[in-house]
């Protein structure tokens, strides 16, 4: 049905005027993406230089002003010890983001190793790894994470490893599928027919094509990892209380859910917003990469 498609020749003279293009362009401008980038940028600033954004000392105790509702002086209210929640959220950004990034990195790297081996190793080894990944996959991610924390005790490092380990099997299977698809492609066969070595084909064709979507997957994974890490902290299995990591804030606020609901709502909203922003960016990267292919 090529006849239905506009012929490339005539497209050149069919370009709409500048005004028309601006008008249609504005309608399609990805405002959601801009908002997500701005939000992530703000958090990145908070992670690097929290003192620039914070209004109070996040650790200064001020018992007379405990459990205050959000106001002009305390934007997000105060907690049971009178600490400013807004400043605590800002100061918690570094740890939360590091845990998210770290866990995503651990998960993807682990998945990369397992997935590539399952797809590319020689037969018996590949089958063993493949089954191992499948067994890991049958465990709920949270259970794998709990297992690791039970063994080595709660800490930021353990949390990173735990979340990474929990999410790795899913990504490993995705990477394996990608590599197998590239391996069976006509361009790999063409390279084989040219007499190229296996290593050269893997490095020049299979991996680059199979791992194209990985940037997007990583962005998606960061958002997901922050949520996972927060759930662990919320269960008291993550970073210990003096820290203002968002999951820990949730955990601490839980006791005052009736008297001071904002203590649990604010960190919760921040976590959801980060996850949404990371997902939005990831999706845009994904569709951009796919369009590049087409």
């Amino acid at each position: 049905m090529t006849a239905l498609r506009p012929a490339p020749l005539a497209v050149a003279d069919a370009r709409p005027g500048l005004l028309a293009r601006l008008a249609t362009g504005a309608a399609r401008r990805p405002w959601g993406l801009y908002a997500a980038i701005a939000f992530v940028g703000l958090l990145a600033l908070a992670a690097v230089a929290p003192q620039l954004l914070a209004t109070h000392d996040p650790l200064a105790l001020d018992y007379p002003h405990s459990l205050l509702a959000p106001s002009w002086t305390h934007w997000f209210g105060t907690d049971e010890s009178g600490r400013d929640l807004y400043s605590r959220v800002i100061f918690g950004a570094r740890e939360s983001l590091l845990i998210g990034l770290g866990a995503a990195a651990v998960g993807i790297v682990l998945a990369l190793v397992l997935g590539s081996l399952a797809a590319l190793a020689i037969k018996p080894a590949a089958v063993v790894i493949d089954r191992f990944v499948e067994i890991l996959f049958t465990f709920p991610a949270l259970l794998l994470a709990l297992l690791l924390i039970a063994i080595s005790g709660p800490s930021a490092t353990t949390e990173i490893l735990a979340v990474g380990l929990g999410t790795a099997p899913g990504y490993a299977r995705m990477i394996r599928g990608q590599i197998l698809a590239a391996k069976g492609s006509a361009y790999v066969e063409a390279a084989t027919a040219l007499g190229h070595s296996r290593a050269r084909i893997v490095l020049a064709h299979i991996l680059p094509n199979a791992l194209r979507p990985l940037v997007a997957v990583f962005a998606l994974s960061v958002g997901q990892s922050i949520v996972w890490a927060s759930s662990l902290s919320f269960l008291g299995l993550g970073v210990a209380p003096p820290s203002s990591e968002w999951g820990a804030l949730l955990d601490a606020g839980r006791q005052y859910i009736v008297q001071a609901g904002w203590l649990i709502v604010v960190p919760g909203v921040v976590i959801v917003a980060v996850a949404l922003a990371a997902t939005t960016i990831g999706r845009h990267l994904q569709s951009h990469l796919e369009r590049g292919e087409k």
Binding site: L4, A7, A14, S185, A186, Y187, A190, H196, N209
Partner: protein, 567 residues
């Protein structure tokens, strides 16, 4: 002249004038793309009489399919259809509402779509598909519809229609599917049938059956509009031909006139581009073969004796139900230097598996392949790699055989032997030279295959195949997906490259015309076995095997000289 005389004359004219079933005048179709109007059909006019076949011929992008769709109100929502006259059974169809069009389609006009596999509902039996067409137009009762289905299927030549009606499209062969589609299009006995590339993608013997069915419908009085890129198909059926290019009708007239004495250069080129046994040794395309092709490099290694020898090749595949299918069974042949061996066969004949076995991309069950006198099939891949540059491949779909991340320069450079072209500058220079051999300019280097036309892609694929200076190039349906004029250019190029470099071709195709145009010797394959082999003259003039005879009888006769004589 008396008044009575004049009246008599006018009555005579009335009686001789055939009834027009369809009248099209100045049909224009435009699409709105991003708010901009773009005309893809500019002024198509013709009349269709009972028992007449009008063929619209053109290459991809000519607007022939859009024209066909516009005639049944299927041009699409973004299309603007405009005509000075568009009459179906003398009713002005220009202002038809979608409801009116729905009533016209099926009842007055049957539409046979190109691809039976995607046009039939995979989850519905073909019987149900045809019943649906009848039911939509409130035809008959439930019981009479069931009998009608059987009647229709047997009319289009489907054997065991009762059984077939209960089967789903995937249980039918391509030919049966196409016939089921025809049956549903003619279910209500429309007297106008539009067939959009009805035989493209069909094997030649099946194509012959479908064409016979259309011919039969025509003799029963149906008017047919045939849309095709294939002149040999059109020559079988058409009374009137419209040649379209880029939305315009270049030439229009009786089939005898258009095929026998074409006026327009494009029509002439189109007719000359059809490869047949008679075109052997002559150019198919007016487009000159690039001069550089005449400097194409000779194969790297000189070797006495056949460059490729296959003995008793056998390969079986396990089907999903666990049984073994012998894809290739005891195939033997040899290929001499500078020779073209054509392998012809229909889908499932094992010709592509043979190509993969020869290329060492598939392991043999039995038999041996020798390349340049050396063992090729019996050695491990590690050792085979050293010999791989001596045999290269061009496939039907070049796009998928290129890494999607790479531009033409990288694709070509990647195929060069690294030991010979050490510096990046030398490699780039060689890539430019290779492009020259296939008639492409330097500007293509930076482009990505996706941005190239089908013909350009196939030229790049040929350039890549030439890069290691092979002794043998396996061409697996290498021109099958191309428009006929582009196919002609590529075939001319292949002939020129072989003449200058002495490379050997193993040319695999389902198209007997292409095979007979190009091959020095021909193998005819069926069900994994070589049923006949020999020189093309021998095979085409005196086929010995009954299958070869059937195959040759199925080729639509296409001899412009003979058509001119009919006149």
């Amino acid at each position: 002249m008396s008044v009575t005389q004049a009246v008599d004359d006018s009555i005579d004219v009335e009686l001789d004038w055939p009834v027009t079933r369809l009248k099209v005048e100045g049909l224009r179709v435009a699409f709105l793309v991003g708010g901009v109007r773009r005309e893809v059909v500019r002024g198509v006019s013709f009349d269709l009489a009972p028992g007449e076949c009008v063929a619209i011929v053109g290459e991809s992008g000519s607007g022939k399919s859009v024209t066909a769709r516009a005639l049944v109100g299927l041009a699409g929502r973004s299309a603007v259809v405009d005509a000075e006259a568009l009459e179906i059974h003398h009713a002005d169809a220009r202002g038809f509402t979608p409801q009116q069009w729905r009533r016209v389609r099926g009842r007055d006009v049957g539409f046979i779509l190109q691809d039976a596999l995607v046009s039939l509902d995979p989850l519905r039996t073909v019987g149900a598909e045809i019943v649906e067409a009848l039911r939509l137009h409130r035809w008959g009762t439930r019981a009479s519809r069931a009998t009608r289905v059987i009647e229709l299927l047997s009319r289009v030549g489907v054997p065991q229609p009762e059984t077939r009606a209960r089967q789903r499209p995937d249980q039918l062969s391509g030919g049966l599917r196409q016939r089921a589609l025809i049956a549903s299009a003619i279910a209500l006995d429309p007297d106008i049938v539009i067939a959009d590339e009805p035989t493209t993608a069909l094997d030649v013997t099946v194509q012959a059956q479908v064409l016979a069915e259309l011919e039969e419908m025509k003799t029963r009085g149906a008017s047919i509009i045939l849309i095709s890129h294939d002149l040999s198909v059109v020559a079988q059926l058409a009374d009137q031909i419209l040649v379209m290019r880029a939305g315009e009708v270049l030439e229009q007239g009786s089939a005898v006139q258009i095929l026998g004495a074409p006026v327009h250069d494009y029509t002439r080129a189109l007719i000359a581009a059809v490869p047949t046994e008679r075109t052997r040794g002559s150019r198919l395309s007016p487009v000159a073969v690039p001069d550089a092709a005449l400097d194409a490099p000779a194969p790297a290694s000189a070797h006495a004796g056949p460059v490729l020898e296959a003995r008793g090749l056998s390969k079986a595949f396990r089907t999903p139900d666990g049984s073994l299918t012998r894809a290739v069974d005891g195939v033997s042949f040899h290929l001499d230097a500078g020779e073209t061996l054509g392998i012809v066969g229909e889908s499932g004949s094992g010709k592509s598996t043979t190509a993969r076995l020869v290329l060492g991309l598939e392991a043999l069950d039995a038999g041996t392949v020798r390349l340049l006198g050396q063992d090729w099939s019996g050695i491990p891949e590690r050792k085979r790699r050293r010999l791989r540059p001596r045999i290269s491949v061009v496939s039907q779909d070049p796009l998928s055989s290129f890494d999607p991340r790479w531009n033409v320069e990288r694709i070509l450079v990647d195929a060069l032997p690294r030991s010979e072209y050490r510096s990046p500058a030398a490699r780039k220079a060689r890539a430019v030279e290779l492009l020259g051999f296939v008639g492409l300019g330097v500007e293509v280097l930076e482009r990505f295959p996706l941005r190239l036309s089908g013909g350009q892609r196939q030229r790049v694929a040929i350039a890549r195949a030439l890069a290691p200076r092979p002794s043998v190039i396996v061409l697996d349906e290498a021109v099958s997906a191309l428009d006929v004029t582009v196919q002609a250019q590529i075939l001319d190029l292949l002939v020129a490259l072989q003449a200058s470099s002495g490379v050997s071709y193993l040319f695999i195709s389902h198209d007997l015309g292409v095979i007979s145009h190009l091959s020095d010797r021909v193998l005819v394959m069926k069900d994994g076995v070589v049923v006949e082999s020999g020189e093309p003259d021998e095979i085409f003039r005196r086929p010995r095997h009954p299958y070869t005879r059937e195959l040759i009888a199925s080729i639509p006769e296409f001899d412009p000289a003979a058509i001119a004589e009919r006149k």
